[in-house]
């Protein structure tokens, strides 16, 4: 069905819902590359007017990616919670925005609504929201998850300690872990991106992480971010797997390009649960996503990249994840050109995920061929923290020497904690105080206090 909007003498016509959504999207290079973007600024606003008048329920009857062709669409439609959707069922996209901003949409109300929000609804309303809207609504959405600690409580922000090494060297990785712990990082997870896909190397890394966590009794969880099929094999070999990782996208075909489908994710989820290693909860999955991945896999079905990104969160949501993060600036300038586009995308992704009830964190990051720098990362980190982001990355000196990109650093998370008074996961916060790393106010004590950890690590390293 076609949609139209008249501005003055001009009638703007949009052939179908996909075109309407794509043209309503604030500018980004990936949609231009795909040939989906609005051709003039006025056309984009006309699309937003038309989108604002669209009944939300349209997304339940008109699929952007055909139901018959795509298991992600089937997951979204078949799993939709009509009872949860009921309070907003009669609203248009525009009225939905107004309602989300109103005092009626409290944290409790939004939590009950989440299973009724499809990714397309979240994406649609985000397209007519400014950054301040994305921030203030996301801040009201609370998503709490547990494995060995509690992630996502109001007033907290967790950090994934990311101790990558270009040769997977265990001692080099241990050195980065120690540095990160001494800055109070690691409550979301201590998670390594391995260079290798060799199972014995991956198994050794899991053993290392397990030994660190056990020896120091750290209330956190480990992850080696490798393909789910490798993790399933490692579980079969008896490796100590806490979190099961996978990159996912918003269409069946894009997921296939990652070598996964919903069936293998179900198998991986069950394998992770079977180990029963979580002490506080059973959220065992860790997912990463990012705008543009479907287009790069030529699996985008002429749908804009931001809507497809929100659909990836529907995949995540089906597996009760502990952690989900968009890797917002990693993909490169042909998808998100500059700091402005990366900042907008990061806040859209966070908003859509949270509105859908997903524990969304963000890898605030950029590559050297994007028009972005540390100032842009400072801006996005500050805005996301104000929006209540679940977690961010902690990379030594913001420089990932394995993946060759820049993320947020141990120092960056300290800055934002100091600025906004954000606490860590409470169990981890208590552990840091016990270790003498932080004081009662959660701030770092002078660095000498890390000496105890340091000497224990020397013993670990000498093993």
């Amino acid at each position: 069905m076609a949609y139209r909007h008249v501005i003055g003498q001009t009638t703007y016509r949009f052939g179908d819902l996909r075109e309407l959504m794509a043209k309503a999207t604030p500018p980004r290079s990936g949609d231009e590359l795909a040939g989906l973007a609005a051709t003039t600024a006025e056309e984009a606003v006309a699309a937003r007017f038309a989108l604002a008048d669209l009944p939300l329920a349209t997304f339940l009857t008109e699929a952007l990616v055909p139901y018959e062709d795509d298991e992600v669409t089937r997951l979204i439609i078949d799993g939709h919670d009509r009872a949860a959707f009921a309070p907003v069922a009669s609203l248009t996209v525009g009225a939905f925005r107004d309602w989300l901003l109103s005092d009626a949409a409290t944290s409790d109300v939004l939590a009950r609504l989440a299973p009724g929000v499809t990714p397309e609804m979240a994406a649609a309303v985000s397209k007519i929201m400014r950054l301040q809207d994305l921030i203030s609504v996301a801040r009201k959405c609370q998503v709490t998850t547990r494995f060995r600690n509690t992630i996502g409580l109001p007033g907290t922000m967790a950090v994934r300690l990311q101790p990558n090494h270009p040769a997977d060297d265990p001692r080099g990785i241990a050195a980065s872990i120690l540095d990160g712990l001494s800055y109070g990082c690691g409550d979301a997870t201590i998670g390594i991106n391995p260079v290798s896909d060799n199972l014995s190397v991956l198994g050794d890394l899991l053993q290392l992480l397990d030994e660190v966590i056990q020896r120091f009794a750290i209330p956190t969880q480990a992850c080696v971010l490798t393909h789910v099929t490798s993790t399933i094999a490692l579980i079969g070999r008896g490796a100590p797997v806490d979190l099961v990782f996978q990159s996912v996208a918003g269409t069946e075909a894009a997921n296939r390009s990652f070598g996964v489908d919903l069936a293998i994710l179900r198998e991986a989820h069950q394998a992770g649960l079977s180990l029963q290693r979580g002490t506080l909860g059973r959220n065992v999955m860790y997912f990463e996503t990012g705008q543009g991945s479907a287009l790069s896999a030529e699996a985008h079905h002429a749908v804009d990249q931001q809507t497809l990104e929100a659909r990836a969160y529907a995949v995540c949501r089906a597996f009760d994840p502990l952690l989900v993060n968009t890797v917002v600036g990693f993909i490169g300038p042909e998808y998100l050109y500059n700091g402005k586009q990366i900042i907008r995308a990061g806040l859209e992704d966070h908003f859509c995920g949270k509105l859908m009830g997903v524990p969304l964190g963000c890898d605030v990051c950029y590559t050297n061929h994007a028009e972005a720098d540390q100032d842009d990362m400072d801006a996005l980190l500050t805005l996301l923290a104000a929006a209540g982001v679940t977690y961010v990355m902690g990379v030594p000196g913001a420089d990932d020497v394995m993946l060759n990109y820049q993320s947020t650093s141990f120092h960056d998370q300290l800055y934002i904690r100091d600025l906004l008074g954000l606490k860590r996961a409470p169990e981890f916060e208590a552990w840091l105080q016990d270790q003498g790393i932080t004081g009662g106010d959660g701030r770092l004590l002078p660095q000498a206090a890390a000496a105890r950890l340091l000497s224990s690590f020397a013993a670990l390293e000498a093993r």
Binding site: N164, R171, L225, F330, H369, Y415
Partner: protein, 264 residues
């Protein structure tokens, strides 16, 4: 051992930026500036223009014919925004390459700026020289060396097809990292033609002063070329066991990245 010495020893275990100290919750001034310098070098590498005149003369001295071309991306910005343009030749360049291709060859070699002209400036000649030793001893027939600007990996598919080559090899500047702004990669594609997928290529990456030496890169390439000719293919079925890297990730490593391929 003092704590400072302990941290120094730990820092020696990894190239990661650990044990930096802090000023309040921020980085000390010296570290902030050291980071800014690394980023500036990486940015300059992305935007530097490849000096094809000088490189062309040097290659000519090796006794090789040189053709200079530019992809359909007219500027650096269009190159960054439109990967498709960087993969295709301009019509005039197509004709020039075809006109010079008098006989079928075994090997088509392209040298392209990719995302780091500095990488090509620093490492292309040493790699090419070593490679020529292997080419001569194997008796492989070589087309004219094509020097391309604003080029991506798949540009070699079209060049290789026009040169009627059994295999296309491209030397190309990789996406600059903060610590390695001048890393060169080599990509090999058997039976090159436009439309080849990344899974049909092999790559050798991280050729730079602190990484893989040029001589070793050339030796690995020669091994892959021999295997490709023997088995009539390149790609995942011809895996260089030493360059295994996990596939299917939003964030894959720098292994085969020229920035053209997004994570995945």
């Amino acid at each position: 051992m003092s704590e400072i010495e302990s941290w120094k020893r730990l820092a020696a275990l990894t190239p990661a930026r650990i044990a930096l100290g802090r000023a309040g919750s921020g980085l000390p001034t010296s570290e902030t500036l050291r980071f800014a310098l690394a980023h500036a070098r990486a940015r300059d590498a992305v935007h530097a223009a490849l000096d094809t005149d000088m490189l062309g003369r040097e290659i000519g001295r090796l006794g090789l014919q040189v053709l200079r071309v530019q992809s359909r991306a007219p500027t650096r910005d269009s190159y960054l925004l439109r990967p498709d343009l960087g993969r295709r030749l301009q019509p005039a360049d197509r004709e020039a390459i075809a006109a010079a291709a008098t006989n079928p060859v075994d090997l088509s070699i392209t040298i392209a700026d990719g995302l780091s002209a500095s990488a090509i400036q620093a490492h292309a000649l040493p790699v090419l020289r070593s490679l020529l030793d292997h080419v001569r001893s194997a008796g492989w027939r070589l087309g004219p060396i094509v020097l391309a600007t604003q080029g991506r990996v798949a540009l070699a598919d079209e060049i290789g097809e026009l040169q009627r080559a059994r295999l296309a090899l491209i030397l190309l500047g990789e996406r600059p990292g903060l610590s390695t702004p001048d890393s060169l990669g080599l990509y090999l594609t058997y039976a090159p033609r436009p439309g080849r997928q990344d899974g049909e290529r092999n790559c050798i990456s991280n050729v730079h002063d602190a990484g893989l030496p040029a001589v070793e890169a050339a030796a690995r390439a020669a091994w892959l070329i021999r295997e490709a000719f023997a088995r009539s293919l390149t790609g995942v079925a011809l895996k260089d066991e030493s360059s295994a890297r996990s596939a299917g990730a939003i964030r894959s490593g720098s292994g085969c990245g020229d920035g053209e391929q997004p994570p995945g």
